[in-house]
Each structure stands twice: as structure tokens, then as C-alpha cells.
């Protein structure tokens, strides 16, 4: 997994609430057995007027927002379906950091497993970030848990284990495999009804 430590990029504001995973990656694009290639269809229904015709009014299609890797958004981001494809689409598009008011639990866990940092900030701070000019970079200092932009600093909370994983780019399964003796001990004590 790719590490994320101190990260600086421009941003895209998309301040709708309740952006669900069906919007992030519509179901017709889930028919893939790989984890890549989903970025071109991220937010498909909002991004395209019809196939291959981008909607010029949609923020992701604004030339000045090209290459931005931080998404600033509303509350309850990633609600609905559990599809991890939503995170794969955001990452494949280029987003490494999301700043929302809150997340669905499943989406939040999915993001941590793909090296995408999901930060929670209150509305007023997100409103400030959302109105920054398109060329204004935002710096995320994950070890210090700070979002820094235009002379302002905002603190955010994150679970220590998740932070440790993201900062070091660690794979969950490899971590768990080290606990195999505990898993076996648990299994040995499980009740049997057969």
C-alpha cells in the first residue's frame, strides 16, 4: 500500500451531502475483476452529459481543477452500497485525501485499506477550504494531524492504528498473520454444536 505522510496538492470542492457509492461509481462499471481502471467513470452521471461528452459545468471537469488530489465534500460521504470500487475509483482518478463532515463506516474502513486518507472536519472549516482559489495548495500533515491552507491550520482526529498503517503503507493481512497463534487458540476454544 502506498504511504501517505505529508501531502500537498490543490483541491476540488464538491459540497453535496450524502454522496453515495452508487454516484461515486455507478453499478454498470463494477463489472471488472481488477482494482484499477475505475477512475474514468468516477461520478459518471454527474461528470458526463452522455457517453464521452463531459459536463462542462461539473467541478471535476473544470480545467483549473485538473490534477487536484484532495476532495473537499459534505456530510455522510460514501453512504449506501459497500462497494470498495468507490474508493478504487477515487484513487484511480488521483484523489489521495478526502475531507468530509462524516463518512459511512464501510466507506471509511475501505479508504484506510487503500491508502486514501479520509479526514473529518466541521462544516465551517470545510466551507473555508471549499472557497479557496483553484491554484491554492492544501497541505495535509498526517503525523501532526493538521490540515494547512492559506495561513490557517485545522486539527483533525484519526485512530492511531489507522494512522500508523497509512504513514507506513502497511498491509492488514500481513499484520494479522503475526497473530496466527492467537487465532488458533481462539478456534480451539470455540463451542461445537454438531
Amino acid at each position: 500500500m502506498e504511504k501517505i505522510n505529508i501531502f500537498t496538492s490543490t483541491s476540488v470542492p464538491l459540497m453535496n451531502n450524502n454522496i453515495d457509492t452508487d454516484q461515486l461509481i455507478p453499478k454498470q462499471f463494477l463489472k471488472n475483476i481488477l482494482k484499477t481502471g475505475f477512475g474514468k467513470n468516477l461520478l459518471y452521471d454527474w461528470r458526463y452529459l452522455k457517453p464521452n461528452v463531459p459536463n462542462p459545468d461539473f467541478v471535476l471537469n473544470k480545467p483549473e481543477r485538473a490534477g487536484a488530489q484532495i476532495l473537499v465534500t459534505g456530510d455522510n460521504f460514501g453512504c449506501g452500497s459497500s462497494r470498495e470500487h468507490a474508493v478504487w475509483a477515487l484513487k484511480d482518478y488521483g484523489f489521495r485525501v478526502i475531507i468530509a463532515g462524516s463518512y459511512s463506516d464501510i466507506f471509511y474502513m475501505n479508504s484506510t485499506k487503500n491508502g486514501v486518507l479520509a479526514i473529518k472536519l466541521p462544516q465551517a472549516q470545510r466551507d473555508f477550504l471549499a472557497q479557496l482559489p483553484a491554484d491554492q495548495p492544501i497541505t495535509i500533515n498526517l503525523p501532526e494531524q493538521k490540515v494547512i491552507a492559506a495561513g490557517h491550520e485545522f486539527d483533525f482526529d484519526i485512530d492511531e492504528r489507522i494512522k500508523h498503517k497509512l504513514v507506513n503503507g502497511l498491509d492488514d493481512i500481513a499484520i494479522t498473520m503475526k497473530e496466527m497463534d492467537k487465532i488458533e487458540a481462539y478456534e480451539a476454544k470455540m463451542p461445537n454444536f454438531n
Binding site: N16, N17, N18, D20, D22, Q23, P26, K27, Q28, L30, K31, N32, I33, L34, K35, D45, D75, N76, C79, G80, S81, S82, R83, E84, H85, V87, S102, S104, D105, I106, M109, N110, K113, N114, D159, E160, R161, I162, D172, I173, T176, M177, E179, M180, K182, I183, Y186, E187, M190, P191, F193, N194
Partner: protein, 457 residues
């Protein structure tokens, strides 16, 4: 200190980690389907890892399967996902109810049906409606594909324990009001994220009186209120339901004794309690683009409060102050893991019996599993639907999410027994109105919603 059922099941499954930080939990049952598992198996293959407990893993195809002519899949990418699951299950030794198998169906229908779903368990699946299985007095939640791979490799999962919310539902449900209306009214009142960060337990005399099927509907949609899981404590009904099923415990007495220890001590154990008076409920129908955008059938659509409401009205082509009885319904969908069970089909058939669906209306009936389909056919329920002008189809997720060829056309208003009315959910531009099977049946006959308390019942 008093503990909830969720606390007790959770604590009995912790292998490592302290409360307040992510903990490593043992997974008793891992359910798989073809959409969220291919990348997980690929990860195992790349790292030369086996499936740790194939005996605690069960798979089926449901999202992509066609509901007519199931052995002739025209969408080549769907076929590839379906074939890939078959190949992966064979290679890794995972039990599979494959295409056309008598046990095949929507994964959340067949878990209970096969007796795989049992009280006291931790159950996961790469699908948000895994919450359904909580109705058996278990902890059940949806996970992402990386987590699917993690469970396949280790039979465990890292999770942060949620807070607990008790939802007390009391009083007798009025005629024409069902479990679907209970959960839709809750989400409409409390919002689509009221349960975020919580595991929800439903309790109270209304819940006690509900059948297992009704409890499944309730827990199924807990995820639509943002909850990590929805559950109902197990009782005699639960034990009777599990007993004798294909994968039920052989020593039921010993199992029941074990399951009973997980009951919630008392209400003081919940971090938060919400109260719902069931006697005041009415049939609910959704008008907008999330399940919280729903109203009583005797109300009119609300004022525009924000940009989200405006966007929803634009999408569904309605205005504030509209009665849902005045919206032209051209499509009806009976099915899904929410309301595609035998009892749901029976309720709908009872209303449709002796009637015909409205002119120009298309109605699909998609049983949630092959067993449900075959049982319904033995009972003659299929004939009632067919005589009424409905299409009787093969089991699957179908037009609940339209990953297979089953789509509701753009601009068409569909009365649906499913769980999500998101933009494009049932097909690009489709307009979904969620409701109970009885309300959908009545809407199919009239070509618009009616208040079944006054007319149909």
C-alpha cells in the same frame, strides 16, 4: 455494568486489541458473491495464501444473474464475473450455490434459508445489506473487498466497536402497515445518517410479535439509516426458524443454551435509545433519491429545504406539495433482499388476486431464491401473479440495482419493494418509489399509489 447483545457477541469474538481501538474479531460466517470477491481472490493468489476456513465460507451468484434464460448470459463481463466466482470457489475449496443450483438466490435470503445464519455469530459479506442477518440475534455487517480478502486469508477482521442504539418499537401495527413501513418511517424521521457509528438493536413488543421475515426486512434497511448493523435478540421464533435447516446445528439444545447468553441485560446498556409508537404509523412511500426522502401516504411531498432536496425533485420530476397518489406509476418491482421472501410474495398475491395490473404497466416478480420460487409455485402463488399480468422470473438481485439486464427505463416511476431509491439505482434515469409489497401490489393494480388502509384492505 449492563451489557447489550452487541456488546456480548462482540466481546466474545475479540482475539486482539483493546476497546476504543480497532479490535481483531473472529468471523463465524463469511458470505460471498460475484461482484465484490474477484479482486479478493486475486489478492490471495498473488500472495500464495489459501482460504483459511472454507467450512465457514459460502458463496452464490446474485447481483449479475439474469432473471430469464439464466444459462445464456449475454453480457460478457457479467459472465466473466460469474465464471470467475465459480472458478475461484473450485480452486479455493469454497462451497458454492452456483447458477441454477437449488440453493441459489440472493445471498441474504439463502443464509437464513440454509440455516447458515445463526444467533451469536459474527457474519460478514461484501455487501451492505448483510445487516439482514442481524435479525437472528447476530452481529452482521457489510465489508469492502480488501476486508473480504482479509477474512478469506485469516477468518478474522479488524473493527472498531460501534456505540449501541436501542430502538424501542411498541404497540400493534395498524392494518396495512408492515415492517417496511416501520423502518422507512424511522429513516424518514431520523435521517439517512442517524445510525452512523452505531450498532442498532430493535426491541419492544412490536418486534417480538414480528415474524422472522419481518425482522429480516427491518434489519436489512438499518444500513439505509447509516447504522453499521441492525439486530434483534434471538427468541423461540428464531430457534424454531433455524431448527432442521440444512446447515443448522445438530445439537440444537446445546446451541440454544449458548445463544441465550447473548441477550441484552436491560435498556440502561444502550448508549442511546429511540422510541417509536407503532400504533401511529401509516404506509410509507419514498418520493426522492434517498430512503429518508419518504412520507406517509396521506401526506404530501415536503418543501425544498436545501440543494439536495432540489436536486432530488429535479431528478424524480416532482414538486413539493404533491400527493404520491397522483404520480403515474408505470413499473412495479417485487423482489430484493428486503422484500423478495415468500411472505412478501404472499402478501402481494393476496392483493393482486382477482385483479389485473393497470394498462401499460410492467410488473416483475423476482423471488429472492430458487427455494422461494419453487415453494411459491407449489402454492400456486406464481399463477396469481401471472393471471394479474405480472412477469414471473428467476431469482436474483434483478432490478433492485440493475446490474443484470433488468432495468427500469429512464423517466419511469417504479413502485418497488427494494431498499434504495438512489439516482440511477434501478437503471439510468429510473425513478424509484420504495414501499411495502402490499403498497406496491395496490399501486400496480391502480397505476398509482393508494392508501391501502382505506381501499385495498
Amino acid at each position: 455494568m449492563a451489557k447489550t447483545m452487541i456488546d456480548k457477541i462482540w466481546d466474545s469474538h475479540v482475539i486482539d486489541g483493546e476497546e476504543g481501538t480497532p479490535q481483531l474479531l473472529y468471523v463465524d460466517l463469511h458470505l460471498l458473491h460475484e461482484v465484490t470477491s474477484p479482486q479478493a481472490f486475486e489478492g490471495l493468489r498473488e500472495n500464495h495464501r489459501p482460504v483459511r476456513r472454507p467450512d465457514r465460507t459460502f458463496a452464490t451468484m446474485d447481483h449479475n444473474v439474469p432473471t430469464v434464460d439464466i444459462f445464456n448470459i449475454k453480457d460478457m463481463i457479467s459472465k466473466k464475473q460469474i465464471d470467475t466466482l465459480g472458478k475461484n470457489c473450485k480452486e479455493f475449496g469454497v462451497r458454492l450455490a452456483g447458477m441454477g443450483h437449488k440453493d441459489q438466490g440472493i445471498i441474504h435470503a439463502i443464509g437464513p434459508q440454509l440455516g447458515l445464519t445463526q444467533p451469536g455469530m459474527i457474519i460478514v459479506c461484501g455487501d451492505s445489506h448483510t445487516a439482514t442477518h442481524g435479525s437472528f440475534g447476530s452481529i452482521a455487517f457489510g465489508i469492502g473487498t480488501s476486508e473480504v480478502e482479509h477474512v478469506l486469508a485469516t477468518q478474522t477482521i479488524w473493527q472498531l466497536k460501534p456505540k449501541t442504539m436501542g430502538i424501542r418499537v411498541h404497540g400493534k401495527l395498524p392494518n396495512g402497515v408492515f415492517a417496511k413501513d416501520v423502518i422507512m418511517s424511522l429513516i424518514a424521521r431520523e435521517g439517512v445518517s442517524f445510525g452512523t457509528g452505531y450498532g442498532v438493536e430493535f426491541y419492544g413488543d412490536t418486534i417480538r410479535d414480528m415474524s422472522m421475515e419481518e425482522r429480516m426486512t427491518l434489519c436489512n434497511m438499518a444500513i439505509e439509516g447509516g447504522a453499521k448493523m441492525g439486530c434483534v435478540q434471538s427468541d423461540q421464533k428464531t430457534f424454531d426458524y433455524v431448527r432442521g435447516r440444512k446447515y443448522a446445528p445438530k445439537n440444537m439444545d446445546k446451541a440454544i443454551e449458548h445463544w441465550k447468553q447473548f441477550n441484552t441485560d436491560d435498556e440502561s446498556a444502550f448508549d442511546k435509545i429511540i422510541d417509536l409508537d407503532a400504533t401511529q404509523l401509516a404506509p410509507f412511500v419514498s418520493w426522492g433519491t434517498n430512503p429518508g426522502m419518504a412520507i406517509r401516504i396521506d401526506d404530501t411531498t415536503p418543501e425544498i429545504r436545501d440543494a439536495n432536496d432540489k436536486k432530488a425533485y429535479d431528478y424524480v420530476g416532482l414538486k413539493p406539495g404533491t400527493s404520491l397518489k397522483d404520480v403515474d406509476i408505470k413499473w412495479a418491482f417485487f423482489g430484493s433482499c428486503t422484500n423478495g421472501r415468500l411472505s412478501d410474495l404472499k402478501i402481494a398475491a393476496n392483493i393482486l388476486k382477482g385483479h389485473h395490473i393497470a394498462d401499460g404497466l410492467t410488473a416483475w416478480v423476482v423471488p429472492a431464491s430458487r427455494t422461494i420460487k419453487e415453494t411459491a409455485e407449489k402454492m400456486g402463488i406464481d399463477k396469481i401473479f401471472k393471471d394479474a399480468g405480472c412477469e414471473w422470473r428467476e431469482p436474483g438481485c434483478s432490478a433492485c440495482l440493475g446490474m443484470n439486464p433488468d432495468h427500469v427505463p429512464a423517466g419511469v416511476h417504479c413502485a418497488s419493494t427494494s431498499n434504495r431509491n438512489f439516482e440511477g439505482r434501478q437503471g439510468v434515469g429510473s425513478r424509484t418509489h420504495l414501499a411495502s409489497p402490499a403498497m406496491v401490489a395496490a399501486a400496480a393494480i391502480h397505476g398509482h399509489f393508494i392508501d391501502i388502509r382505506e381501499e385495498a384492505i
